[in-house]
Symmetry: C2
């Protein structure tokens, strides 16, 4: 199981499709359950879906104090298994990062803690990042990539929720879900949860590939200088499950409800019934592991007509959902009371 | 036909229903036609629907230089008939006037010009308002009313588009539509188009009833004093017909379109695809009589995801639709490009 040399990973990798792809179902009932059905959870990929086989699958952990550790699927299955419930959210298009995509779910992941693997391989004092690579390869936005490469700060990699996941909601990860092994980084945008994981590398610096430097960096101009922020921690976000946008409701008591989530626990959800003119606090449930949090708000419409409901979540660090122009901009639902 | 004395009008008036009522269909196809089907046009009433009969119907015009003029339905049918195309919009609840109701249509009305009748009866130099009354009576918001009473400034009453209407889209006005005779005031909110019209009165002052003083006045505080503005002239408004709120669209060229209208002709319609962050001008057609005006905007979505479309009309006097908290606040449609 352990070899003190660089290994060539020979996972099977016939591409089933090439380039960026997406499966996103829009039936609203997907969001009614606290745990999202695997079937309802969005799927997104950058470089096609490789035709992975569980047979012979290996993950190499390179750059450890003791060299490279190579783990087969069987090795991983024999290590201690941890279950983590977490929301999973896609950061959206890396080319147009400010358009909300509403790709989110709440999932029970199971697998081996990344921390356990890192401790086995030995983390040197100078290590600051963990690079992760998937076997998917192909063209994206006019460029060819031999693998999909991401990075994490070491501190996050040591978080006891970060997994080399083998299961989703109790079932083995399917090929199109990133199986047999994928990284899961609860609280980080999905782009960091490298699918078809076959390589981890301990590093002193960030990965220098396009998926870490060119894409998935938020650009802000502060004091005239462009500041890049890696798309890691999920910003506070929320989703109204009821009423759905476009609904007609009778003029009776209604329970508005939905989900709120973010890297930091959500401490406040506000509801506006007039497009943001005035706000009221909703009730929110506390966070269970890394789950999304249910909010609800009792409302008795006092008049028939059009209402523009807006939902705004804040985390306990004081970060608030922006009204406009960001991937996590407030959720809105326009309904008619008749 | 003409009598130089006050007459008691003996129209049949059995109430079919009492109090405020509304029929509003929400099928979006209602708005696809330039001329709205009578069947699709909203109906709203304050004091129930009287069971009017065309037999024996009379309209008295009181306070003329030559006394009172009483016109039977037959008299009205024998006067010159005028056809006017006009949008018709309900001002919404007089108790909660700031909630958009989206009750609107574009109609061809036919009947006798109010001006012709006023000229016959003789308008004295001191006359500044025309009062109008319907035979509907009953309770509204906890008060009893013997009739529904409104008023118009004389200048508007002399406008050649204001009709004692007998027909809608070429057909006689039905009982529930306000027939056999109703006032039609193109460009003014529907509350001024008195249904079941049986009395007009020339006056020096506004009518002192609740429907002119208590209800249907917009209240603004200007320099610390409350200023009342009668709900007469329709403020610039607009409606997006395509895409409908809640729609999913493919990522291809789309023609956004809808209607804009107001007392003054609409000179600009702006479209925002990002909830009001940035705006672009739509194309608009010119006004035909008092019709609503079609606007359209060619759009090719550049990315999948959620788009919040906002439509904002301005009239040639420079009045712009407000974003929030007014009956004519901007129309919004939240769609998903997938």
């Amino acid at each position: 199981m352990y070899e003190n040399e660089m290994m060539e990973i020979k996972n099977k990798q016939v591409m089933k499709s090439n380039g960026f792809g997406l499966i996103q179902k829009h039936e609203k009932e997907i969001f009614r359950s606290f745990i999202t059905d695997e079937d309802g959870l969005y799927k997104v990929w950058h470089l096609g879906i490789p035709d992975t086989s569980t047979e012979g699958w290996q993950v190499a952990i390179e750059g450890g104090v003791d060299g490279t550790l190579t783990l087969t699927l069987k090795d991983l299955q024999e290590l201690e298994q941890t279950t983590v419930m977490s929301f999973q959210e896609c950061a959206g298009s890396p080319v147009f990062p400010d358009i909300p995509q509403r790709r989110v779910g709440n999932i029970v992941w199971e697998g081996v803690r990344l921390r356990d693997v890192l401790l086995q391989v030995g983390v040197g004092n100078n290590i600051k990042f963990i690079h992760s690579s998937g076997v998917d390869h192909g063209d994206f936005n006019g460029q060819h990539y031999e693998s999909y490469d991401k990075d994490l700060p070491l501190e996050m990699a040591l978080n006891d929720n970060v997994l080399l996941a083998l299961k989703i909601n109790g079932e083995p990860l399917s090929n199109s879900r990133g199986g047999p092994v994928r990284l899961i980084v609860p609280g980080y945008y999905g782009t960091n949860s490298t699918k078809w994981l076959n390589r981890l590398a301990l590093a002193e610096t960030r990965h220098n590939g396009d998926f870490t430097t060119r894409y998935y960096n938020d650009r802000e101009v502060i004091d005239g200088a462009e500041v890049l922020t890696p798309v890691w921690e999920i910003k506070p976000n929320s989703l109204l499950v009821f009423p759905e946008n476009g609904m007609h409701l009778p003029k009776e008591k209604q329970t508005l409800w939905g989900w709120a989530w973010g890297f930091h626990p959500i401490s406040k959800v506000e509801v506006s019934l007039n497009a943001g003119l005035t706000w009221q606090d909703a009730e929110i449930e506390s966070r269970d592991e890394n789950s999304w949090q249910r909010f609800s708000f009792e409302w008795e419409p006092h008049v028939i007509g059009e209402f523009h409901i807006v939902i705004r979540a804040s985390d306990r660090e004081g970060n608030v959902q922006p009204l406009l122009g960001k991937r996590n901009q407030v959720y809105r639902s326009i309904i008619f009371v008749s």
